[in-house]
Symmetry: D2
Subunit: 153 residues, 4 copies
């Protein structure tokens, strides 16, 4: 299964630590990581997945694979700009959101609209208010990956 | 200028009334309405714009113009599914959100990410919490259109 | 019906004359012109349609409506790059190809693949060889528009 | 490097044999195969790449990975329909076309338009006429892969 990790390009240390652990667990579980291919949460998740021996797919907004972070093993330059967010959500069997920015929020909303399971880890309290019932809350990276696999399988 | 009206496909009466008034004011101001081309808020806004003598562009998710509401004068069948949301936000000079659903939320988030002005009218309180500073709040249809034109011009 | 006019951004005089006549006839027939919104064949077709009192939709590759030719009345900035070609062919009820470049060829091929009628006017002989049976050949702008309306209606 | 193999969904035996050999050589050279993920040329190329120990990326038109052929190891369901062709050409460093159908032709045209090297193997003679100078001609699968790597590197 493809599991997406979505999150901001400028991550705080805890978000990066969460993302790296999540990426590693995805790979160790035999799943493929898909993400936006850039920095922050995306880079940390890719690094973790590579450390775990996995494949990492980066769905990039620009025209060239050069914009990918160094741990993307399959860089897909789409040339679609922000519209590429809908491809990440469409391709994923489940999504794990770490932190919250506007791009991340657009992906959460698209995923829920598409009927995909979304697991939130360490996200802002406001998200809990409006996404109650639509988003699955996780307590730890291990819990997030376990719930994503269960919901998307 | 193209002004997008975004909102749910199943609108409550007040949302539909707001949308129709907003559509009419966009047309009367000499602007072009762009939306997702479906029902609810989108249909009401298109009906208002047509009553106001304007053009209405519907960016449709499916493969055929048949899915457009009857007041879409320029139906653009994209075949892109939910990815068409990013085209609405990219093409618009400003957006007016009426009510809130997941599709609408994805468009608000994409628009803010793209640096487009977003005006919210009659939206849920939770939106006010997280979108403070990124979204302009309007008190009435007239206020919403005036602020969208000012911000997008 | 939306009728697409597709062709190169650098048109020779006869191609531009054909395109302007085709655009005018589309508008005079009460149809809406859709195109890539740029120069050459696209600009000439839009100019003709505006002279004929019609609406012209430009599906632009870039992020801004600024790249549209001056006769586009509804500029749709998609931010999708070349992927926007598939939107032109998907949205059109029929297409008229004038001249041949690589972008035009991609649109002809996508349109045939989608089952859309394609009318060729003044196109290169090689196109006649491989497109026989899939593309309708026109002798004049009037013939091209008449056949596009008949096939797409 | 990502190397795309493009071709029809219903391949004749020679096209399938070419595609399988090309896929195997791409994988053995340490490159990643990208394609439309469906049958015919695409399935044969994926089978060859998997036999060669490689990764195969399928950029699918539909909403689900279920439409992928059995040798796609990374299925990307885009939900974009034919517009996904532009993603294959954008993401690839070089393309190898085997046989010719309308979908393949759209990808060749988009690739040339984007400035990507296109190598043709066993394609119809008409293609040679109009693509002379824009497309590289190969005599064998080995020649095709060697030229694709040289041109795209």
């Amino acid at each position: 299964m493809l599991i997406a990790v979505i999150g901001v390009a400028e991550a705080i240390p805890q978000e990066a630590a969460y993302a790296e652990a999540v990426g590693r667990l995805i790979a160790e579980g035999g799943h493929t990581l898909i993400c936006g291919g850039r920095g922050g949460v995306m880079a940390a998740a890719c690094r973790g997945a590579v450390e775990g021996g996995g494949i990492t797919v980066g769905i990039l907004p620009g025209d060239s694979p050069d914009g990918a972070n160094p741990w993307v093993t399959v860089p897909i330059a789409t040339g679609l700009g922000e519209a590429r967010n809908a491809i990440i959500t469409r391709a994923a069997g489940a999504l794990i959101a770490i932190g919250t920015g506007w791009g991340t929020l657009s992906e959460i909303a698209l995923a829920v609209k598409m009927g995909k399971p979304v697991v939130a880890l360490g996200s802002a309290p406001f998200l809990a208010d409006f996404a109650a019932g639509a988003v699955i809350w996780a307590e730890s990276p291990d819990d997030a990956v376990r719930q994503a696999i269960a919901a998307g399988g």
